[in-house]
């Protein structure tokens, strides 16, 4: 059956259409754009060196202090973003302070126990990616003790976990568990879980791979890592 025809989009002949038209034309202003680029390039230092992800991550670890400093500096910038439209003059900036807060307050699924409890610590939860995810219980600890963390810390921890996959998957599991403890309601839960499943597959812990892959599919029903997780599950033998 063919799709219904999409409705005509809003045009500038209505009040809402004019608002939407302005929104469509919105662009990152040059200064804000460069600031973002610089901070990301610092956070991913070494990416162009061609030395593989481990090398990149080594560089990242060395630059961690610099990254944290940068995020603090960014926090002093009076406005988080400056925007301009192709068709409009730049607006005056509001004086909203920049808070380098990245941790999500999303609810977290309690994980069923996995096999081999004596093994290294595993992240035990998957942060659901969407409101349409199955009903979950919020974590009171997240509300009562909100943590303000620069995203570079969180991203670098996961990058480090991923970098250890090939040489030391146990270390990957430990780092992922640390990530989960530190950022229990992270928006990067899908990334973390796919890395954990990868590490478990490399260790031949296939029962755990299957259990976590099943849970991954339940929580991240349309996630971008589903294909990878399915390949890891299908390829696990042991």
């Amino acid at each position: 059956m063919s799709d219904p025809v999409d409705p005509p989009r809003l045009r500038s002949d209505s009040a809402l259409g004019r608002m939407v038209g302005d929104a469509r034309a919105e662009r990152l202003e040059g200064e804000a754009r460069e600031r973002i680029f610089r901070s990301i390039e610092m956070a991913t230092a070494g990416a162009g060196a061609g030395s593989g992800l481990r090398g990149k991550l080594r560089a990242l670890s060395l630059s961690k202090i610099g990254v944290v400093s940068l995020v603090v500096l960014l926090g002093a910038v009076p406005a988080a973003m400056r925007w301009r439209a192709r068709t409009a003059e730049p607006r005056a900036l509001s004086a909203a302070p920049v808070l380098p807060t990245v941790e999500a307050t999303s609810p977290v699924l309690a994980a069923p126990p996995v096999a081999d409890p004596a093994a290294e610590p595993l992240p035990s939860a998957i942060a659901p990616p969407a409101p349409s995810a199955p009903a979950v219980s919020p974590l009171p600890a997240v509300r009562s003790a909100p943590r303000i963390a620069p995203v570079a810390d969180e991203g670098s921890l996961l990058l480090e976990a991923k970098a250890a996959l090939a040489s030391d998957p146990r270390k990957t599991l430990a780092l992922a568990a640390e990530h989960e403890r530190t950022f229990p309601a992270s928006a990067l839960g899908a990334e973390r879980e796919s890395i954990v499943i990868d590490a478990l597959a490399r260790l031949g812990r296939c029962a755990e791979v299957r259990a976590r892959a099943e849970r991954f599919r339940t929580v991240y029903r349309s996630g971008v890592y589903r294909g990878l997780v399915e390949r890891l599950e299908a390829g696990c033998s042991g």
Partner: protein, 190 residues
């Protein structure tokens, strides 16, 4: 799709992180090309202004971490949309929680457009305020379809809902927003 799905050796190479058969796009190029679109997505999907820098960084750190695994470069934009959507939803939840913790009311009334000098900027701010009063699931569809100009099928696939549901959500959001915008217009908006 790569042959990795059926070829065990290829799968083993994947596990061993063998070099991808196609060069992934360079991070800087991805940043240059998609920063506007990602920033717009984040903003209109509800990331508060003060969290935008962090949200953008978060998206691109994920991109950096996973770019070498992108098997189909043509899927990049859809992949970015998914990441941006997840980051935006997390930021929105955090913002709502923050408001709740501070005992703030969940929806401020629209600002007086006369208070801002630039008409276009005032209209964008107004739109953000109006969007804040629309249920999240309707807001997503409206932003992706009307502002990002995705097809409704793309929207439905991205948010993982039936096509007809996406149409319904769009219609509901549009009616609600149109009424609110017209009311503002009658009072003298930019």
């Amino acid at each position: 799709m790569l042959a990795l799905d059926t070829d065990p050796q290829a799968h083993a190479r994947l596990l061993g992180r063998a070099a991808p058969s196609r060069s992934p796009p360079e991070l800087r190029a991805v940043l240059e090309e998609h920063a506007d679109f990602i920033a717009r997505c984040l903003r209109y999907l509800g990331v508060p202004p003060r969290d935008l820098d962090d949200a953008l960084q978060e998206v691109f750190l994920v991109v950096h971490a996973r770019l070498d695994e992108l098997s189909r470069p043509e899927a990049l934009r859809g992949w970015l949309r998914q990441i941006a959507r997840r980051v935006a939803m997390a930021a929105r939840r955090k913002h709502a929680q923050r408001r709740e913790d501070l005992g703030e009311a969940p929806g401020d009334p629209p600002i007086d457009p006369a208070a801002t000098p630039e008409a276009a900027c005032a209209r964008r701010d107004l739109l953000l305020r109006l969007l804040d009063q629309v249920p999240d699931e309707q807001r997503e569809v409206f932003v992706l379809y009307e502002i990002e100009e995705m097809s409704m099928r793309e929207v439905a696939e991205l948010i993982d809902c039936p096509l007809q549901t996406a149409y319904s959500r769009h219609r509901a959001a549009r009616e609600r927003l149109s009424r609110a915008a017209e009311r503002l217009d009658e009072r003298g908006s930019p």
